[in-house]
Structures are given as C-alpha cells and as structure tokens.
C-alpha cells in the first residue's frame, strides 16, 4: 500500500540535465517542486576527483556511471519476426543514471540542428519532390524552425559556456566558423578550444579539397567562465578522460557545474534520490495526471500527488514511462496507427583511420571530449541530394576524444586480433593514427519502434522496454556516400594507409556507436503522428510535459544535447508564461 504524500505543484521524473533545468525554472516561478531521481546523489567533489577518476577499466569498460542493467535494461531485436532478448551488457549505447544523469559523462559536443532538419519532410519534398523520400520512412516536421529555437539555443549555450567559433551572427558570415549554420544572435560565450595535432592535419587536408573546416563547439571550456546563474567553470585540461567519466576540473558543463548547486539551495525544491518511479497516475477519466507512484531504496511505495508532471528522464525511459502509465496510443507497426514508441531513431556512425609514419606523433591521449576540427559540407541538406537518392547526411572530422588503450589501440586491416603480430602492430600505430568520426543522421522508419516487452521484467516487476530497430536502407546509402568523402579527406591527410568502411546492417548492440537514442514521444503539429505538441505538452494529458531526445521525430546529423537543452528552455518558458496562467488547458488545440 502506497503512502500518500502531500501534494506539490510539480514533480520531476528524473533529475538529469532537463530535470535540473526545469526544476530551476519552475522553482523560480514560485512552484514547490519535488525531483525524483532513481540513482544516487553525486558531485564533482568528492565523486569525480582524480586520480581515481582516471580509471578506464572501471568507468569506461565496466561503465560505473551507467544504468544498472541487472535491475533494469531494454530488450532488442532487428524486426518483428525475431524474439527480442535483454541487453545484458551496455555496448552500443550507454544509458546513464544518478544525479545529473548522462550529462555527467557526456562529451560536451554542442551543436544546433539546422533549419532544413527541423523541416525534414516539407523541405525535402519542396526541393526534391514528393516521391524522393523512401516509402518506409515516417520522417516528419518538428513543428518548430531553427529561428523559433534560436533564443533557446542561445540561452542554453550561455548556461553551458560553450566554446566555439561562430560562423554566422545575425546573417553576417564569419571566417573560421561553420559557414552552413543558421544565424545565431551572438557569438559563442567562450572562444574555441585549442586544436590538437590530428585535427590540424585534418583541417589543412579538408581545406585543400575545398571544404570548410571549423572547430567543434565544446562544452568542455576553453577558458574560465561564469554563467548567468553565477556558476563558474574552469578551462579544460585535455586530460583524455571525458566521455564515460565525470570531470574533476569543473571544466565540463554538467548539472553539477552549471546549475544544480543553485537549485539545491532553493527552499522550494526537494530532491529525493534512489526513488524509482513506477508510473504516472491518472484521474479516473484519464484526462489529467494526479502525480506519480515511486519506490524508495527501502522498498517503500509512495504516491506523490502533483498538479504538474514533468517526464524528463533518458529518451528511452520517457517512452517506457508513457507506456507503463497507459498514456497515449501505443504505436502498432502492422497498422501504422498509434504514436507512443513511433519514430524511434538512432545515429548512423562510421569511422576512417589514417595511419601515419612513425615520425608523426599524434598524441591521442591529449584530448578533450569535445575538441578538434570537422566539416559540415555533408550535413543535412548542405549539398544537392538529387543525384544520390537519399536524405540526411553526416559531419566528419578528427574529433578524437581520447587515447585510452583498452579501447583505443588501432591496427591496420589484416592485422591478427592477438599474438606477437598484433602486439607489434599496436606498438607501431598507437601514437601515429588519427581517427575521423563520420556522424550521420538517422531517419524514422515504420519498422523501427519501441513498445513493452511481453516477456522480460525489471527488478520491480514491470515490463522492460523493447527496441525493434534496424538501419533503414536510406541511412546505409547515406553512410556509403559520406564515408567515401571522409576516406578521400583521410587520403589527403598524408598517412601511409587509410582504412574505413561505411555503416552496414544489421544493427547490433554489441559494438559502441552512440548514446543518441531518439524518438518515441515525437513532438509535432498533428496528434495523429506525435505524442506532444510543440511546447512538449502531452496531447492526451495536458498537465504532463515530456521533454528529451524522445521528442525528436527523427534524428538529425549532429549530436542531440544542445537541442535537448534548447527544447527544455522552450518548454519551461511556455509552462511558466502560458500554461500556469490557465493550468490544465491544452496550449495547442488539435
């Protein structure tokens, strides 16, 4: 029997990046807010301090910061004709847990999505005609444009202190920045990061081929910065332990360094860690949320009534919570009807390795999670897709993040996997190899979706989320095209040997790709094809807001976090300025 607690104004499901931001905006507006976090509390001091943070085995290989998959995991299959099985080891993607969520161990790569990618269907049909998009793709517009999102990107980047070189301020092109970016209202808060060696070689090679290299925007900062919340960050030390690790230097923007201490001081905010939310509770008519039910570390069940529910956990968990709570119509791939779990997308990754002469010391360990140089010439619709018969694109560049040797010991194709010849090749190439990441978009397909698994349950007896996913043919064509372009730049970098191949199917969960799982609670203008409206308010339950990469109708070319943060500020502003003036009302009428 659940203990019923006193009603609060708002409850947050998850206290990661979005939870921290919404907590701050809502308490500032005078609301009493409870934040429920399933993991533990953790802070820069003492939890992320060196030298013990520099433990590749513990954090990167054994994944100490990730969701405990002995308690809670997902199941996976490629298509509906297979039986999904639990993901028993995190490899392909790494769901975080704990206070601050995945924003503790992200890399800090901070990109805005392009206008054409917000208008994926209408833009494509306008430029290339109606039949250009493969019939299986359920690609759609977001319901917002890059211009709509600009103020929120701007505000979020100034919260993070992002380091970068603007390429377009209010329509004025600036040399050295990304010439393809949509206009930004002002430059980045801090200048770009120092350029590592491999990235400098890439820049020269890309420029020699007529491309437009620019520094990767980074939320590991190039210099000290104090954000509008009064939080001060330090300069990144290029220690090479970023992704999968917490930052000991206060240099990586994460909830702990940019906002959480401010929120935790607010008397209107209550944090409860080790609180596993089981479901969102609904009124009898299922038209309003009444709060949530959660279990604490001692196994006690509580009901936390709330006037407003913010679902702001990891994308996959957002979708699962909707399904567990019976909110919205689950997607059915047979009929194409239903919206929750629809439009699940990922990212289409490949890589190119450039093997240099032994005289070229690349020093792969002198890196940051976000640094280096890339080109956007093949991002989104920055090039003519007409002859190529696919939509979407990829950025690529030398944006290496580390040289940690358990996982980074490149050898040329044909090298045996072990033994004396393997060892010889590792010694020969470790410090003399540059890797180009090819980071590609992922289109939603009618065959790819999320639902509840019929067989497997978590430690609390609730069904696991089932992922049904394989790479759409469109994305494999995109990967073939862009990987070829990256190979050509790799060859121009002057290495002795260049290797790499495009992404090929089937998708599997045994190899790391990215943690950019998106979709399942798509935002949009039509309740027949989206779960939330353009303010991220549930079409079915107006006092429920769902925020995260689960809102993406398909995944764009760039990394998702900047867009997640911008969506969070956009939604928070709508809640504070509009929703709270007429609580319980839909802000968009279907």
């Amino acid at each position: 029997m659940a203990t019923r607690l006193k009603e609060v104004d708002a409850v947050l499901i998850g206290v990661g990046l979005v939870g921290t931001m919404l907590g701050r905006e809502l308490t500032k507006a005078g609301l009493k807010v409870v934040g429920l976090e399933r993991g533990n509390a953790q802070f820069t001091v003492p939890d992320f301090q060196g030298p013990h943070m520099h433990d590749e085995l513990r954090y990167s290989v054994r994944k100490a910061f990730m969701q405990d998959n002995t308690k809670e995991a997902m199941t996976f299959r490629n298509n509906v004709n297979q039986v999904a099985l639990p993901i028993r080891r995190w490899e392909s993607f790494l769901p975080g847990t704990g206070l601050g969520g995945a924003a503790v161990h992200w890399n800090g790569q901070t990109y805005r999505f392009q206008d054409d990618e917000f208008k994926m269907r209408s833009h494509t049909e306008q430029r290339y005609g109606k039949g250009f998009i493969d019939a299986e793709l359920t690609v759609q517009d977001w319901g917002v444009t890059a211009a709509d999102m600009e103020p929120y990107y701007d505000r979020f980047e100034y919260l993070l202190g992002t380091s970068g070189q603007a390429g377009n301020v209010k329509g004025q092109k600036i040399a050295g920045g990304n010439p393809f970016e949509d206009p930004r209202s002002r430059p980045y808060p801090t200048p770009p990061m120092k350029e590592p060696y491999g990235s400098a070689i890439f820049r020269k090679a890309a420029a020699s081929l007529g491309y437009h290299p620019f520094p990767q925007p980074s939320s590991n900062l190039s210099q000290p910065y104090t954000n509008p919340e009064g939080m001060t960050l330090q300069a990144c030390m290029f220690c090479g332990y970023c992704e999968r690790f917490g930052c000991e230097h206060y240099a990586k923007s994460s909830p702990q360094t940019i906002l959480l201490p401010v929120l935790l001081k607010d008397k209107n905010f209550t944090l409860r860690t080790q609180s596993q939310v089981l479901r969102i509770n609904l009124a009898k008519d299922k038209k309003m949320a009444t709060g949530v039910t959660y279990v604490d570390a001692a196994g006690r069940e509580f009901e936390q009534p709330a006037k407003l529910v913010i679902l702001c956990s990891f994308a996959l968990n957002n979708v699962r919570m909707m399904l567990l709570s019976g909110i919205g119509q689950p997607y059915d791939p047979k009929t194409g009807q239903g919206v929750v779990g629809r439009n699940y997308a990922y990212q289409t990754m490949s890589a190119v390795q450039v093997f240099f002469d032994e005289s070229v010391n690349i020093n792969p360990f002198m890196r940051s999670g976000a640094n280096g140089t890339l080109i956007a010439d093949f991002v989104g619709d920055n090039f003519d897709h007409g002859p190529h018969k696919f939509i979407g694109g990829a950025y690529f560049g030398d944006v290496m993040t580390n040289g940690r040797p358990i996982e980074f010991h490149p050898t040329p194709p044909g090298t045996p996997a072990w033994g004396a010849k393997w060892k010889e090749a590792v010694v020969r190439h470790y410090n003399h190899t540059s890797v180009l990441n090819v980071h590609g978009s992922s289109m939603a397909s009618r065959n790819n979706y999320l639902d509840l698994d019929p067989t497997y349950k978590d430690a609390w007896g609730q069904p696991l989320l089932r992922i049904t996913f394989d790479f759409p043919a469109n994305d494999l064509r995109m990967s073939a095209f862009t990987t070829d372009k990256a190979l050509a730049v790799g060859k121009a970098m002057g290495g002795r040997q260049v290797a790499g191949s495009a992404r090929k199917g089937p998708y599997g969960v045994t190899q790391y790709q990215t943690t950019h799982n998106t979709g399942g609670t798509a935002m949009g203008l039509d309740p027949g094809t989206s779960v939330v409206n353009r303010y991220l308010q549930s079409w079915d339950v107006p006092n429920l807001f769902v925020i995260g990469a689960s809102n993406f109708p398909q995944n764009a070319t760039y990394n998702p976090t900047d867009t997640v943060g911008a969506l969070a500020y956009m939604s928070a502003e709508a809640i504070v300025n509009r929703y709270l003036k007429a609580p319980g009302q839909a802000m968009v009428h279907a």
Binding site: G50, P51, H52, H54, D55, E56, L57, V61, F76, R77, N78, Q82, A84, L85, P86, I87, R88, R89, E91, K194, E195, P196, Y197, A200, A235, C236, M237, F238, C239, G240, E248, H249, V360, N361, N363, F365, M366, R367, G403, R404, P405, I406, H409, A417, W418, G419, V426, V427, Y430, N431, P506, Y507, G508, V509, T510
Partner: protein, 156 residues
C-alpha cells in the same frame, strides 16, 4: 542472433571456471599435460582452435570463451596496474600511453611533440611506489569436474 549480445546464464567467473576445466581435461586427455606446459606454438594453435571453434566447454561455446578471454586479457594488459596486470606499467611504456595524468593543456598545441615523461598510475604514492591489492594463493576449483594434474601434484 549475434547482434543481441551475450545471453548465456553464466556470470563471468562461472564462464571462465567451466571453460578452463574443460580445456584442462581436454589437454590432459589428448596430450597428458596441462595447457601452460605446452610449447608456445602449440598454445597458439590451441587458442586458434578455440577462436574458430564451436566446442562445448562445459556449456560454454569455445568461441564465446575465446572472445571473453581476449577481452579480459586486453583489459588486464592495458588497465591501470592497480588491478594487478600491466606490471610496472610495461604495456603503457610499450605504446607511450601516459596513464593517469590530469592535464595536457600546455602540450596539446605543441603539435607532434614526443611525450617522454614516465607514465603515472592511480595507485602511486609520493615515492612513485604503486600500491596493488595483495593476491592470495589461488583458491582450488570446486565442483564435480576439478582441475586435473596441477592439483594432483600439489599445485604450482
């Protein structure tokens, strides 16, 4: 389906104990010795037969055992020496990985510089001594299928 990853019922320790027992029995049966006493080239050949094989090693498919063995060997080889492998940071010195240093801010833009400082372990004290968890004598294998000749001769 391989893309779904590891699905066997064994914990890592169980996987290794089961498979190692089967390998010891097999080498004992066929060669009347133990794996560690085989000449290097025969050890390599035996490992290759596991890598490409589908023998049943007390419930563990040979190639699954081999993949786990290779992954753990690479982990032990390249992990911080506090875990007992990578003795004297030999693997790090071999490739030029500096270990647990906290900062390369002043070096990252000195392109192509040769980094020659000795690597650093997380477990170093201020005399550069690396503290490692003491390892007790190997516990004897238990269960219905104990390790063969090594135990009978009273261990190593």
């Amino acid at each position: 389906m391989p893309g779904q990853g590891y699905q066997l019922p064994f914990t890592p320790a169980e996987l290794f104990r089961n498979a190692v027992r089967a390998i010891n029995d097999d080498v004992q049966h066929r060669r009347n010795t133990t794996f560690d006493k085989l000449p290097g080239n025969e050890q390599d050949a035996y490992l290759e037969s596991l890598q490409n094989g589908n023998q049943n090693l007390n419930g563990v498919p040979a190639h699954t055992f081999f993949e786990s063995l290779l992954a753990l060997t690479i982990e032990g080889f390249f992990a911080d020496p506090i875990y007992g492998g990578n003795k004297d940071m030999a693997a790090w010195k071999m490739i030029g990985f500096p270990g647990a240093y906290a900062s390369f801010y002043h070096l990252v833009d000195q392109h192509g510089i040769l980094f020659t400082r000795a690597p650093m372990s997380m477990g170093e004290d201020n005399r550069r001594m690396i503290h490692i968890q003491p390892v007790a004598a190997q516990p004897k294998a238990v269960g219905p299928n104990p390790v063969g000749a090594t135990d009978k001769k009273g261990g190593r």
